[in-house]
Symmetry: C2
DNA sequence: CACCCTTCTGACTACGTAGTCATACCCTGT
DNA sequence: ACAGGGTATGACTACGTAGTCAGAAGGGTG
């Protein structure tokens, strides 16, 4: 092998090696019909031998599509968004699409738009808003490019949009029903930030379960997903003896709340039952082990990818809305209230 | 604007609009010299007006570079790898490189290679092994493509490789020195899986601190990063009254260990001091709040990107090795042993 | 004033793939 | 034997950008 001439092989090299035309190589690589088994085999052998790999850039240029989906996620290691991202990447490999991630960072204004911009610069065919936040400003994206958002909010008008829920609504509902089913008179709620769709979904589910039971919903306390805010909420709720059951919108805040309760001398679950959300890996090893809601991120990711890819390849998009089921993971932080034991 | 004709504008459209040649538009977009201020301004205005965006595919095809770095990460939501990923994405935006992530999943054999393959198919210019695991098999990657690994292991030979550490060694050393400094006779270690460079780095740091102090290292217990494995380790260590200080290789395992100790009736920190690693967000809200080691992921990411980009653009690579400092976050899970109080 | 050098601009073309279209071949039925 | 339809292959070309090279315009020097 002449040292000087070595460079990454192209389809013409494979073609020469296999004694066919470049176009035939292209056909084989794309699995097109109308190639004889014998030629297909020869081409594949030549490709293998030369270590041929299709040039993505040339492909994209020719096809006018990049086969790439951009995900706007959150620049944090919150378990929910991080897990969704992992699931998305895994599911994406089963498709012909690659994934690009752009994070927004708290405190940076226009975080979503700057993330979206960087994705558009990369040339993505569709955009996914994985942790949609209402920044109070309109989202300006070319209406030709499909957008999938996990939850809607004002400012999305005029986009080629698909909205899907994750499992927030179902989770909120189930968690609340579980606590009411244990005999608690009502259920308090420590919510996520109101600008987050995910937070609003969970709160809606909670409220609906109370409504169905004919119970007036207490004022929810709004946290920021952090353990610190859960701790604050815990300190506050601990002072009210009426509080016997709390649904916390994520496990990180629930951990903070657990500690707040402990410091205030309120025993969990003896005096206060707590349900978290996400089933983070450490949830089972807290004191007490945390009852929580689990989302099936693989299913959510797969569903979202299907919807978005369908938008990219076919239909000229219309808004829709659906929600996937969540699952209760029963541990020791919930129990019937004193009065019912 | 005629409805039918609208499609994404190309540089020739901008050129026509601004009354210059396509090449001049290219010059302006790339910030090349030898363009008069007046023309530059006109071109930029035209580009803005038309919503022009360079076509990445055509650019990549022409340049022969994709300006994309592939990161092989772990398909889990372990705090460490997840945080590094976030930091990498953030730092990458300051460069001209985009990031692609491919996760490997435990239990899937050849996980690294299949992740690498999917990155190479995307056409990345360089590869980063973010959580390098020794799978016991050689890594077969084209020696032309630079690889940066956070820690070395056998099987990387023959690659165009740069090795850098994260902060594992320093963290292990500092954690152990802290515990010895409190007066503990020795320090036990709950390590991560031996195939992980990160786990080995931390163990090396721990062992080195003991060596320097002239203390024989107890046999480390190997976990798998999960709270469950930490719990097992905790139950085991709790039975040995000699154990008064433990350095745990990540916070998730430390949480499991805390619970294992609690269930066995061993008080932390009164009877056993515990140092974790990572400073996960909930660490401050555990019972007791966890003393732990913090890595500066932004610095690690930025350093790694610099090294890899340098490899891509310049030097024909040589192995090197360095390590960044870690920082002790002092909380309440560590205290001097009974004998010294 | 001729010359050269610097600054600025455009025409032409390569990059590697897949779409379009033309064509050659083979089998089946009459 | 021949028409007709499916099968198999190749020549040519477009995709949008930036590199190369040629050349025009302007300014300073001997």
């Amino acid at each position: 092998m002449s040292e000087a001439k070595r460079r990454t092989p192209r389809s013409t090299d494979v073609a020469r090696h296999a004694g066919v035309s470049q176009k035939t190589v292209s056909r084989v690589m794309n699995g097109e019909p109308y190639v004889s088994a014998e030629v297909r085999e020869r081409v594949l052998a030549a490709a293998r031998e030369l270590g041929y790999r299709r040039n993505t850039a040339a492909r994209a240029l020719n096809l006018g599509r990049f086969h790439r989906i951009g995900v706007v996620s959150l620049g944090s290691s919150l378990y929910g968004p991080a897990s969704l991202l992992v699931a998305l990447e895994r599911q994406a490999r089963a498709t012909s699409y690659a994934l690009s991630v752009a994070n927004m960072f708290e405190g940076e204004s226009g975080g979503v738009m700057s993330a979206v911009e960087s994705l558009l610069d990369e040339g993505v065919d569709g955009i996914m808003l994985s942790a949609p936040i209402d920044e109070g400003q309109e989202l300006r994206i070319d209406p030709d490019i499909p957008v999938l958002s996990f939850g809607g909010f004002p400012g999305l008008e005029g986009l080629r949009l698909v909205v899907t829920g994750a499992s927030g609504f179902d989770a909120g509902r189930l968690a609340t029903e579980h606590l009411l089913g244990l005999g608690h008179a009502t259920v308090w709620h420590v919510a996520g930030p109101g600008q987050w769709s995910a937070a609003r979904d969970r709160a809606r589910g909670w409220r609906q379960a109370l409504d169905v039971a004919g119970i007036a919903a207490p004022t929810p306390i709004e946290g920021d997903w952090s353990p610190a805010s859960g701790y604050e909420a815990g300190r506050r709720l601990a002072t009210d003896p009426e509080v016997t059951a709390v649904f916390v919108a994520n496990d990180e805040m629930a951990i903070g709340l657990l500690r707040g309760m402990a410091e205030a001398g309120r025993a969990v679950p003896e005096e206060v039952s707590v349900v978290g959300m996400d089933d983070i890996p450490v949830a089972a090893y807290l004191s007490p082990p945390l009852t929580t809601m689990r989302q099936d991120f693989e299913a959510i990711a797969s569903h979202a990818l299907d919807l978005l890819i369908d938008q990219i390849e076919n239909a000229p998009g219309s808004a829709m809305r659906d929600d996937l089921p969540a699952q209760l993971v029963l541990r020791r932080s919930t129990t019937p209230p004193r009065s019912k034991r």
